[in-house]
């Protein structure tokens, strides 16, 4: 089609209109405009589709009545409606969250932005663009669940060690109890001999004293009473110790995975560290001693379950850093308050991290461990958890001398966090 110069302005006009129509109707974002009273003046196709109304039904209605309809809506009263406040103040809003109500009464999460439209100094209305967050939330949840899988993986490595920590006391508690059962039987038999010698329940009161003494001595020799006297208290004590060990381990396991929620609550980080050391004992005890130097700490607003995971990863890493076949190492964990922050240090005297890879240690999937031993997620997870808490994690390392990880966490949690 050829266009003569005189037709140009009209043509441009048409093109602009087509462009606007395309933007309004084809874009995936919901768009609507309102007048200064909050009545809808235009609605694009995506908005109408998402809300379940037709354009005609929406035009002229109060957007608060439509989008925040009671009772299934989010219960804003008209004067509290963030949209209404936004245009009343004439300030734009970016990527705010809200929940809209569809025509059928169901609701969905949206992210929206508001731009006021001014005509001169007067507020003529607002343009609102919104996006359905259902999909995004779903995929976010999937990611979180993926993170949960990683957690389980860390626990998977632990579970074998935990089984060992439980099986060992069960072995010696069982052995001691079997011994005690035998000892008990022997002592009962001895008692019966004594009883007879005492003449209880028998008419053998005429038994000469020498005979009674001889019988008692024989019975004591058979029972090996010295051995029993020496071993029984130890067997009882060790059995109780074994049971305490299993009980405290089970308690620690429960405390370790501490309410697996997203909630942040005030918690004792020293207790979390102690719990983690108990749980990770089998991963560490063959290569290193753990020294705890835990200062007085106020309770910290945090997700203790997540932080325990971080402590676990740092402990296991420190144990893995001990040179193969070298001397027994030491892992020192210390805590202290510095101003409004809590500082936690995990220091080992292991092999250290070479300079070139020191920066990469927090990268996901970065690992120097042999296949099957590490997934390269531990420190990435630690980094992410510290960030979520508004804190930091740093590493200092010297080859051959050891590595120190320093966690700094704000006592009152991440400011402005809405959880």
């Amino acid at each position: 089609m050829s266009v003569s110069p005189s037709q140009l302005p009209a043509c441009r006009q048409k093109a602009a209109e087509a462009f606007h129509a395309a933007v309004l109707d084809r874009t995936a974002e919901g768009l609507y405009t309102t007048d200064s009273a909050g009545h809808m003046t235009s609605v694009n196709r995506a908005a109408a589709l998402m809300l379940g109304w037709t354009e005609q039904e929406l035009l002229g209605r109060s957007l608060h009545d439509v989008l925040h309809a009671e009772p299934a809506g989010n219960g804003h009263r008209a004067e509290d409606c963030p949209l209404a406040r936004s245009w009343a103040a004439g300030v734009p809003a970016e990527a705010a969250d809200d929940r809209y109500v569809r025509k059928d009464g169901t609701t969905f999460e949206v992210s929206y932005s508001v731009s006021p439209v001014h005509v001169g100094a007067q507020l003529a209305g607002v343009v609102v663009a919104f996006r359905d967050l259902t999909e995004a939330k779903l995929s976010q949840r999937r990611e979180l669940e993926g993170g949960h899988d990683q957690k389980l993986e860390a626990l998977g490595r632990l579970s074998a060690g935990l089984a060992h920590e439980i099986n060992t006391p069960i072995q010696f508690v069982g052995d001691n109890t079997r011994f005690l059962a035998e000892a008990c039987q022997t002592m009962l038999q001895l008692l019966l001999v004594y009883r007879r010698c005492m003449g209880i329940g028998l008419s053998s009161a005429e038994m000469p004293w020498e005979e009674r003494k001889r019988r008692a001595e024989d019975a004591e020799a058979t029972a090996d009473i010295e051995y029993l006297a020496a071993e029984v208290p130890g067997a009882v004590k060790q059995s109780l110790e074994g049971i305490d060990r299993v009980a405290s381990l089970v308690r620690a396991m429960k405390a370790f995975s501490y309410k697996d929620t997203k909630e942040h609550a005030y918690a004792d980080l020293n207790e979390g560290i102690r719990t983690t050391v108990v749980v990770a004992r089998n991963e560490v005890k063959y290569v290193a001693d753990v020294v705890l130097d835990l200062g007085e700490l106020p309770d910290v607003l945090c997700n203790l379950g997540d932080l325990n995971q971080v402590f676990l990863n740092l402990l296991v890493n420190a144990a893995d850093a001990m040179p193969e076949g070298g001397e027994r190492g030491e892992i020192k964990v210390s805590t202290q308050v510095e101003g409004l922050m809590v500082v936690i240090r995990f220091a080992d005297n292991g092999t250290g991290i070479p300079e070139p890879i020191r920066k990469a240690v927090f990268d996901p999937f970065f690992t120097t461990k042999e296949v099957g031993k590490g997934t390269g997620q531990g420190l990435a997870l630690a980094h992410a958890v510290c960030e979520q808490h508004g804190g930091t994690i740093e590493v200092q390392s010297e080859l051959g001398a050891g590595t120190e990880f320093i966690l700094t966490l704000p006592i009152s949690g991440k400011r402005g966090r809405t959880t």
């Binding site: 010696f172 052995d175 071993e231």
Partner: protein, 395 residues
């Protein structure tokens, strides 16, 4: 006569205390000593002749695998038992190579004493300690490089061809013997009795097999055999595979898994003796007279199967492979089936050069109802089995 000596090793003193107390009833029969670690254990072993060592797996300093490996070279007459609270089989592979029996914590006193009582007994009447020393040196049986190659290939093809691994394992004498040993222990997962190799492979899982193959390959790949020894290994392997292949048709279905395994490991005594030689131990191994330091291979083999706790039908079948078989009316059993298959293979290219034909005995056995009732050309079947084995060996 001196009492048998048993040594217990654990880094947890409470475990030793518990064992000492619960085994007190045994003090009349055994001399027991207790060591808190590997070094202390070696000192005690140096001081007196022991019969059995029971060791923990993970210990600081020298761990159980290292201790038992040293015991296998310095004190091969000492039977080696692992008593560990660890549950993951892959981590246990090192100790699986070095140990004889495997017990998990918690183990009841009766089970532990049962195993120790068994191991105190030496099977060879005339060469007791000597046969024990030769058998005790062997941690695994020698494997030819070609077999390791096929196993590795089968492992990497696991995703595409799941049937190849059990097949490769069931042609490998060393791995079959090791798996039979390990499958006897709760340590490596419980499984039904009379399990075939395929069932054991499935029950143990590919990672464990993988770890075993790697450990075995590391042990044997640096070995260069004398030409006549290599020739012997190849011949023995071909004979074993051909017999195992044929015995599948000879044995009744219920006896097949054990008969196959027994046929495959029939020369276990010679292999154990050669394992010691490869390990650098000076021994006179006479491949013609089938003796090692004067001890018949057969006695060495039986002692090793005893140490490893292999199922009784397999032990009997291997022990009686070289003996004339008088079949029972009821059926050939595992031992009879292996003997028949062995004699049939003697008529093929895969024959065992150290044994003859025994024609008259073979005819007698073929006349047994279990064989005669089936219209099968046994000589032809034996030739087929022999050819197959030859092809596998060449591949």
């Amino acid at each position: 006569m001196t009492k048998p000596r048993v040594l217990f090793v654990d880094d947890e003193p409470r475990i030793l205390d518990g064992l000492r107390r619960s085994l007190r009833g045994k003090r009349a029969g055994w001399d027991m000593s207790f060591a808190p670690g590997g070094e202390a254990a070696l000192e005690l072993l140096a001081g007196a002749t022991h019969d059995v060592i029971v060791s923990d797996m993970r210990m600081p300093g020298m761990d159980g695998a290292e201790l038992l490996t040293r015991v296998s070279t310095q004190y091969p007459e000492v039977a080696r038992v692992v008593l560990s609270g660890h549950t993951e089989p892959e981590a246990a592979i090192r100790v699986a190579i070095a140990g004889h029996r495997f017990l998990t914590k918690p183990t009841e006193t009766e089970t532990l004493t049962g195993v120790i009582e068994q191991l105190i007994v030496k099977t060879s009447g005339t060469h007791g300690t000597q046969a024990r020393r030769i058998a005790g040196t062997a941690r695994t049986l020698p494997t030819l490089p070609a077999q390791v190659t096929e196993l590795s290939a089968a492992l990497s093809a696991q995703d595409s061809d799941a049937g190849r691994l059990p097949q490769a394992v069931s042609l490998d004498t060393a791995l079959t013997a090791k798996l039979l040993q390990l499958s006897n222990s709760a340590f490596f997962g419980a499984r039904p009795k009379n399990a075939g190799i395929a069932a054991i492979v499935t029950a143990m899982g590919v990672p464990t097999i993988q770890a075993l193959v790697t450990a075995t390959a590391a042990l044997w790949s640096p070995t260069t055999w004398e030409p006549e020894v290599e020739e012997y290994l190849r011949t023995a392997w071909r004979h074993a595979v051909a017999t195992a292949n044929l015995v599948e048709s000879v044995a009744s279905p219920a006896h097949r898994p054990y008969a196959h395994a027994a046929a495959l490991i029939q020369d276990i005594g010679a292999l154990a003796a050669l394992a010691g030689v490869a390990g650098g131990i000076t021994r006179s191994v006479d491949l013609c007279l089938r003796r090692c330091d004067g001890v018949p291979f057969q006695e060495v083999g039986v002692e090793l199967m005893h140490l490893w706790g292999l199922p009784a039908p397999i032990v009997t079948a291997v022990a009686e492979r070289e003996m004339r078989h008088e079949p029972a009316e009821a059926g050939l059993g595992v031992a009879g089936a292996v003997r028949v298959a062995h004699l049939l293979i003697q008529g093929t290219e895969a024959r065992d050069l150290s044994d003859g034909m025994h024609e008259e005995e073979l005819q007698n056995l073929l006349g047994h109802p279990q064989m005669a009732s089936r219209s099968c050309d046994w000589a032809a079947a034996a030739d087929t089995a022999s050819e197959r084995a030859g092809k596998w060996l060449a591949a």
